[in-house]
Symmetry: D2
């Protein structure tokens, strides 16, 4: 019937595809040195109120994370990360493969706090016998759907400043975060409060693409990129897509739609008495269902990820919506679920 | 006027773009586990007469080279490569960044021979004080436009077998190689004679994409890929493009056109008395021009790479044609060049 | 007065130094290919009842750990380790610097159990999006002084066999472990139950040196060693020292003395009412003292490490004894402590 | 009879061994933070007239090379090195294993010149598609026995300054270099002209040990050392040995003796008409002998390395002398050789 498996099940939003078609025959230089990338970078700088920011475009999320983190760090420096962090769990040790340790810390809601950051620092004695924690990795939305408030991010910024730490925010789902009802952050806030963050395109309307925003440029970043195979030959494809997404607020409108579909799912399921132990105000929802219900939904053709078993009779699943999720898919799902549960 | 700078100045061939548009709204699973990738992989296996081959799709050439070479080798093993090899010169130390040494050897025409391979082996004593050369890296076409014959590749295969070496062929410009007048190799030959080779899409009609063909699969290759950020979330984009390219011989027709445009450039320039010290039967041509001629061509708006200065008065330039090069661009260039030279 | 800071505060036991002096003028080949290393390796094989074992000698503990673990693993494979594990805490990310992730798990007493190992496995889904946990790292004694029983190690061996895991035991303090009153393991047990373990010389009478015992040899291990700078030019120094240590039971006698000194410290302090929250039957003791007592001991000239603050008024310190600790140092310390506490 | 295989066939000079014996029972802190290392470092700073230099002690040559080079470089930076350079040929890819490319250049005598350095720079275009050559690696003596003059090293320093390059000198055989009749360099010259150099102990009287002299300290070098397993637990052993070697000129006297033995070998062999194609004024000599002569010397029990076959009938061998080579060994060898050749 419909797949709520993730937010990259389809291709691109039609306006993005149209922009690729419109520019297809033009000749440009390669590797992102073209006018399309310059235009998109200018747009991002303007939206971020960060006229001096360096903007680089990457094809994927693991790629931008591993390149940027490796570029920020010296060999003996480490990353502080929530235990749910994407780089810690779902990137096959990509950061460690560049030589850096990740110091993971348990977090109840996928978010870091100054207290959690300082608990990692307290376990390190500053001598040459231990790594030096140096970069704090956040994701917004987090891997469990939660979002940071401006107060929370400001507190982390102050904590980082006090301890000489860098702050990097993985925005693979930044559109969903910034348009969540729980959000009060803006792009200019992120440019002011972080040392680097990404604007995820892959999960919000692009064929692929993550824009990296560095308020202060990193020397020789493009050498790091090339060495890791992270410069796209026809780099303009990234510029064209981001420019299309960031024109007339398309990026935010798409994310807002994804959130609305997710919250409608949540509200509908809560009305059926289904619990959501970790509340999420964004496009990933984690309900706990009886195992039989899970099986009957699957039998009807619905697709979604099994997050984890909760107890002998219940399973936490993950439902993800996107810019492409039609209202009818949500309504059908809720109707079928009501029928199963009734 | 026209850019002969490289063969990735435009987007995709219209049939590739159309295939992306046609499949845009379909939901599939991610990471290349989808029906489009399966179909394209089946097509490649059929064209290669290699029913057991493992086929994986990558976004770019540096990416596929670094991942595959790192997956083939143990930490103390090294690569044998011509001194012009792309991995040795133009990938920012990507192979070394995975920990492996490249043993480069001077080659007059960008090609390796059993004699050159054995000269590298002879310089290594097989003890733990030296790296173990283990993989031979070829490119076809080479970085200077030359192509391998079946006899040459067969001799290299025998050399590798005799010395326990792996043979990997970088086919970023494989279309141009296989449709060159100097070629007598086929895809099934490559599947029989190498341990791995790539079919380059980026430089022959795709938006991006390199297909890796492994006649015998490498254990856990996809873990290597993910760890290096080399699995595309919407992996189907690669399958869709390769399936379009490999339908009705489009891939070979596009490459044949590129070669024809290049050879027409070469023949026209030779008729003007311009020398080509390293003869190339493929889509890259390396003429030597008087410096003044180079400047006047640039002043007319032609774009191309400066390969290297030859002497005080002459420069070797690189002219690259592609599937998208119109005949008119070639004719205009030759006409303008004749006027300058006349 | 005396330093209980660690068990490598002095040089070598006189018999070790004498052996170095006796062989000083002999010419041998380098890199550990000499008769002294062969003799010591034969001795170790005999003591381990492992006639086919590969024995290699390393200068230090971090070195042997990083080389061996990197040699055991493919790039996408990870290490399972207690959160107190030396490689996780005190080796400056040496394992990660070779590209491998460490999956640390909380352990109450520094020891791993099948349950803890399986909890790590359960958090990994076996797909290419996560690392593959592949090697279990133990230390015996552990970093908190505890030791494994034969039943415990056998259970871990079975767990590893069931899940296709390698078992590696860091024996930097193996002498203390094997002579502890809590121990029932032997060298032959270790050769049978692990895939590799070390016999630590540095902390038990040698100037330096760790012997690696591999019941089944690892291909090309010496290439890994050389590449990491871990082959000593005058490798025979390691063979000479280990042969001296393993002659007439010297190694075990030294360790037994260290344990006796530690247990006398423990018993004497317990008689004064001082608590040891984590009981240790080996040469590291972790008493909790009032802060004032700590300061007065330091003022008297005693040296020891501060392990961690316990509460506002108490500190856990680490006292380490060695083969070189004189009984008088223990008696003086206990007498001074009694005077302070009285 | 006697081994001219290398200069690390014996243990330590008796005064070094005595110093280790004298200090054996003293308790010190570990890891090279002890008074012995401080004293030796002070001595080295004084001898180098470099009061602000950072001095660190390492166990071996591959270790100090790989740690220091990795600490000097960013990931995309490369090393310039003669094709005979130890790091390029005989360290099993240790530098590449830290991620860095080595750009080797043919050198007729094992030495680099500004011209050779600039030929490497000329092959790199300064863009992100190529590595950035950043550090020049020299060895003195070189791997073929030659030594640098002050004029040569000054020219290289100027070349490095002009191009923003670092200059690192591997002094594994620095004693032999500085006492060679062809030498006019001093330790203060090296401290002034390089960014880092080593004083080799292993091949000149120590059990082991290389002292690294950094005229300007490298931030966090000790973190790099620890991460690579390159901090010795009983670090004082290195300080004790270097202090003994540098007292009363022992280090230079030992090297001078080694050179005298080598030059006597050379002069005696030249008197027999034996050619030395690459002249060496230091403790390694490379004569070319008839194959039959080589075999008869071996049959007499002389040991040496075969460097390379020269033609069907002749072989280049390597003879190495050391502080421990007795005059009688040289005389016997020359007498036996005369008998064979006569």
């Amino acid at each position: 019937m419909y797949s709520f498996r993730n937010d990259y099940s389809e291709g691109a939003h039609p306006r993005v595809l149209q922009a690729l078609t419109d520019t297809n025959a033009v000749q440009t230089v390669g590797y992102g040195m073209d006018p399309c990338c310059r235009e998109a970078a200018d747009t991002i700088r303007r939206l971020c109120a960060a006229p001096d920011a360096d903007i680089q475009f990457f094809v994927g999320g693991t790629q931008v994370n591993l390149v940027t983190i490796a570029a920020f760090l010296q060999p003996y420096e480490a990353v502080i990360c929530a235990h749910t962090g994407h780089i810690h769990v779902h990137e096959t040790g990509a950061v460690e493969a560049t030589g850096h340790k990740i110091c993971a810390v348990e977090s109840p809601d996928g978010k870091l706090t100054p207290g959690l950051v300082e608990s990692v620092l307290a376990a390190h004695n500053g001598t040459e016998h231990m790594v030096l924690p140096r970069l704090v990795y956040l994701s917004d939305t987090t891997e469990v759907g939660t979002v940071y408030t401006k107060a929370e991010l400001t507190a982390l910024r102050r904590c980082c400043a006090a301890h000489g730490l860098l702050l990097y925010l993985d925005g693979a789902r930044l559109g969903s975060a910034l348009t969540s009802p729980a959000n009060d952050l803006t792009l200019p806030d992120l440019a002011e409060l972080t040392d680097g963050f990404t604007i995820g395109g892959t999960k919000n309307g692009a064929l692929f693409g993550e824009a990296l925003v560095l308020p202060r440029s990193l020397p020789h970043l493009r050498w790091h990129m090339k060495q890791r195979g992270a410069i796209l030959a026809k780099g303009r494809l990234l510029g064209v897509q981001f420019q299309a997404l960031l024109t007339d607020g398309l990026y935010f409108n798409l994310a807002r739609h994804a959130n609305e579909m997710a919250l409608r799912l949540r509200d509908g399921m809560e009305a059926l008495g289904i619990p959501f132990p970790v509340p999420s105000p964004s496009n990933q929802q984690f309900p706990v269902l009886p195992n039989g219900t899970v099986e009957r939904l699957q039998a009807l053709g619905y697709e979604f990820e099994i997050d984890h078993p909760v107890d002998a009779g219940h399973t936490c699943i993950r439902l993800v919506t996107s810019w492409a999720t039609p209202e009818s898919a949500v309504e059908n799902f809720l109707r079928d679920l009501a029928a199963i549960s009734g």
